[in-house]
């Protein structure tokens, strides 16, 4: 039995920032299923948005408005305003902690353009994204991990959470698996933060790491916690053909252009003002349409058709200076130099706008009134505060990690000072122990790998960029059946120590639960908004659907409820770019 006042699950940007803050007053530990510096924050490339105005005039208010409009007005406006205001201080803090930002000739933090970020409420693109070449996430992750080392934050590397200890509406600890021994460890805590990231691995083509399996969300769902706005899932327009590896929007921020087989700059037809820097949902749909209308590079409209991202006119020097990793990915995986030839790309499953509902301090909410649990927090991609609404703008994921990870950590630091430890009954680990024993017992069962591939295919084909009721209803049934099949799976590997197969089976279960819930939420929402594009309901419907979805999974059945959207600052308008 371990005892910490604050426990952080996940060692990406949100978790590490929260740990730094929480450890200022409370005994804090970070549990992570990966070595911390392997977390997926490190794969973020292009930048972190903050209205520093280092290059040209900019204001937090413009950033907040862009975030709200980018989210197709499902964004909670109070959360977006806080995000854009706190972003400035957060970026300076990171710099002051040593983050090696790229610099202007005057020695200030340099800034570049990014999709949907504009000056004066949509007039033209603005240089708002602070960046470190195309390794911004890597530098954030490194900087925060370094600071955690400096401040003696305790880490439990390769510990995997199996269950959450809840006493009514209060969280009092975690049941975990030590990967290196296969033993169960119980952690008692006054406060627990989930910062476990996204779940792109439910799709066949994704930019996400293998580790992005929605563990935190699924574990909490299993304990009766609802999830918010799961139907909104972002496809990034530019993933490497066939592999889905991310090619940052920063390429277009630096001047890169999307072209179809005829060489046309097709975004002129879809977003005449912002062109290639329109929000991601619009560009992903535009690429999809070009391919469907046989203007993809292959020209056959097939699922593996693609378009070109042309950066050749930027020149080798600029590409190597500002986009060195992109150049390297391009050489490694496409066999071309982006200075010589355009890159072959298509949309790739990228980011969950929805997640564990929280208030502005990261406290998890359990009903439509916004009532919070005690001692339970979430931040980062696994959470939904909601700043991204129906579609996230580029760079705002990193902004959210820093701003809301920090806020949640600060709140925990205060909370643990006045709170007591709860009671973790001696048998609290039994359900998890029994589940592990069952998984490790020998016997024949369905092959987890075929089930995983089938889930990824079903989600890609039916709950992707464009959706319709008929296909989603079928997909929901299929996923329901797959969840039944899943219960029969056994590990062929009975070992206790370093058993990767057992972890992968648990992760698959999490993905299946979330895929099932996402499909149900998407089927239920009869409108098109942001990343949720319905062929059978092509218009946004503010009268009936300007509301957040809350979904529970109860004994295999989905229960839904709704929560109001904060629209206190800007009235919803049609979304044109």
């Amino acid at each position: 039995m371990h005892e910490y006042e604050a426990l952080i699950v996940g060692a990406g940007g949100a978790g590490l920032y929260a740990a730094l803050e929480a450890s200022k007053t409370g005994k804090t530990a970070v549990l992570s299923k990966l070595y911390p510096i392997r977390s997926h924050t490190g794969a973020a490339q292009g930048g972190i948005g903050a209205a520093l105005g280092n290059i040209e005039e900019d204001k937090p208010e413009w950033h907040a408005f862009d975030t709200v409009k980018g989210g197709d007005y499902l964004t909670d406006q109070n959360a977006a305003i806080l995000l854009s205001e706190d972003a400035i201080q957060a970026v300076y803090e990171l710099e002051n902690k040593g983050l090696p930002f790229s610099r202007t000739p005057d020695g200030l933090i340099d800034q570049r353009r990014f999709g949907g970020h504009t000056r004066n409420f949509g007039e033209a693109p603005v240089r708002r994204a602070c960046y470190a070449a195309d390794r911004t996430g890597h530098m954030i992750l490194q900087t925060l991990y370094q600071q955690c080392i400096k401040n003696d934050v305790v880490f439990f590397d390769e510990y995997y959470v199996l269950d959450v200890v809840m006493e009514g509406q209060r969280c009092s600890g975690l049941v975990t698996l030590n990967f290196s021994t296969g033993e169960i460890h119980i952690f008692k805590a006054k406060a627990v933060l989930f910062a476990t990231g996204g779940f792109g691995r439910m799709f066949r083509i994704t930019s996400n790491a293998y580790a992005n399996t929605g563990d935190g969300q699924a574990l909490l769902v299993n304990r009766g916690v609802p999830l918010e706005d799961l139907e909104f899932y972002q496809f990034h327009p530019t993933g490497i053909r066939g592999l889905g590896i991310l090619i940052t929007e920063g390429v277009r921020g630096e001047g890169g252009i999307l072209r179809n087989a005829k060489g046309e700059r097709f975004m002129e037809r879809y977003a005449p003002t912002l062109l290639d820097l329109a929000p991601r949902d619009m560009i992903a749909r535009a690429i999809h349409s070009e391919i469907q209308e046989l203007r993809g590079i292959k020209g056959d409209g097939s699922v593996d058709d693609f378009i070109h991202l042309d950066a050749t006119h930027l020149g080798k020097e600029k590409i190597e200076a500002k986009l060195p990793d992109i150049a390297e990915f391009s050489r490694t995986y496409l066999g071309i130099d982006p200075a010589d030839k355009p890159m072959s790309v298509h949309p790739t499953a990228h980011y969950a706008m929805g997640g564990i509902p929280t208030d502005l301090n990261g406290r998890v909410i359990f009903d439509s009134q916004g009532t919070t649990y005690e001692g339970l927090y979430a931040a980062g991609e696994c959470a939904c505060v909601s700043v991204h609404g129906a579609n996230r703008l580029g760079t705002n994921s990193l902004v959210e990690l820093i701003v809301y990870g920090r806020r949640a950590g600060q709140h925990m630091a205060q909370y643990v000072k006045g709170a007591d430890f709860g009671i973790a009954p001696p048998d609290v680990g039994e359900p998890a122990r029994a589940r592990l024993a069952e998984l490790r017992s020998q016997g024949n069962g369905p092959n987890p790998e075929s089930l995983r591939q089938e889930m990824q295919r079903v989600m890609m084909e039916n709950v992707g960029i464009y959706r319709n009721g008929e296909n989603m209803a079928k997909a929901k049934n299929t996923l329901g059946e797959m969840r039944q099949v899943y219960t029969q799976i056994k590990a062929n590997d009975p070992s206790k120590a370093f058993n990767t197969q057992v972890l992968e089976i648990l992760e698959l279960g999490h993905l299946l639960d979330l895929a099932y819930m996402m499909t149900a939420c998407a089927l239920n929402r009869q409108e098109s908004r942001g990343a949720h594009a319905r062929e059978d309901y092509p218009e946004r419907d503010d009268k009936n659907w300007l509301k957040h979805t809350l979904a529970w999974l109860e004994g295999g059945k989905i229960r839904l409820d709704y929560k109001n959207v904060d629209i206190s600052r800007w009235a919803p308008k049609p979304r044109k770019y």
């Binding site: 090696p100 610099r103 370093f498």
Partner: protein, 237 residues
């Protein structure tokens, strides 16, 4: 094309020593080796132990020895290591660290050495303005070290650790120290100096360039180590 993948195996719960197992697979020349290994795990042998995460060469999880050289499995395409039908790819765990299971090694010592050099930003002053000013040239001076993903490849390839001094700090730790020592904003050089300037610290390096040869991030490691050695010598004289 049909290829054979020979993987070094070891399970501490059932094996007294490592052995090699062969797997026949059908792979495309442009497939990532990581994908092929996971395909083997998914369809032929689920007990295969391997670490992985980002799958595109930025997280550092899947460094291993491939045909005798340290590489990231996700950044290695089949055509890079296997030519033609029937080719054999030999996959082993990293060297210089204890094997935990199959392709996973215990990285504890590597990270202890990393933390030993105080790999974090130190400054006694608050910036005069909102950010510390730093010119693009000053920023460029420590660019190399910022690229490191702590994948352990250099540590595994280091012949000094293998043949001369197993307690040598290792290449990555020095690179991490240099990343801060060469940063115009940082003031921790003297503190870090104590962590580098001792017999098992920076000095065992013999400039044999194996680290530089294998670094998947293309960091000029040996050059960085030699630069740091000179900086220490200049400081002391």
């Amino acid at each position: 094309m049909k290829i054979t993948v020979e993987i070094q195996r070891f399970n501490p719960e059932s094996d007294s020593k490592s052995y090699t197992r062969k797997y026949e697979v059908d792979a495309e020349p442009t497939d990532r080796l990581l994908t092929v290994l996971l395909d083997i795990k998914g369809t032929q042998d689920p007990t295969l132990g391997i670490r992985k995460s980002c799958a595109h060469g930025v997280c550092g999880s899947d460094a291993m020895v491939i045909n005798g050289k340290e590489r990231l499995a996700c950044k290695t395409l089949i055509k890079d290591v296997a030519q033609g039908e029937g080719a054999v790819i030999c996959v082993e765990p990293l060297r210089n660290l204890p094997i935990q299971r199959d392709l996973m090694v215990d990285q504890d010592k590597f990270f202890k050495n990393y933390m030993h050099v105080k790999p974090y930003f130190m400054s006694s002053e608050e910036p005069k303005e909102k950010e510390f000013r730093q010119t693009p040239d000053e920023r460029q001076k420590f660019e190399e070290g910022t690229k490191c993903i702590l994948c352990v490849s250099c540590y595994s390839a280091c012949p000094v650790i293998q043949e001369v001094n197993p307690n040598f700090l290792g290449p990555a730790a020095v690179v991490q120290a240099a990343r801060f020592n060469d940063d115009s904003r940082d003031e921790g050089f003297e503190e870090r100096l104590l962590q580098l300037d001792y017999p098992d610290g920076i000095w065992p390096c013999e400039s044999r360039f194996e680290c530089t040869r294998v670094c998947p991030r293309g960091i000029k490691i040996t050059k960085t180590i030699n630069f740091t050695k000179r900086k220490i010598q200049q400081h002391k004289s």
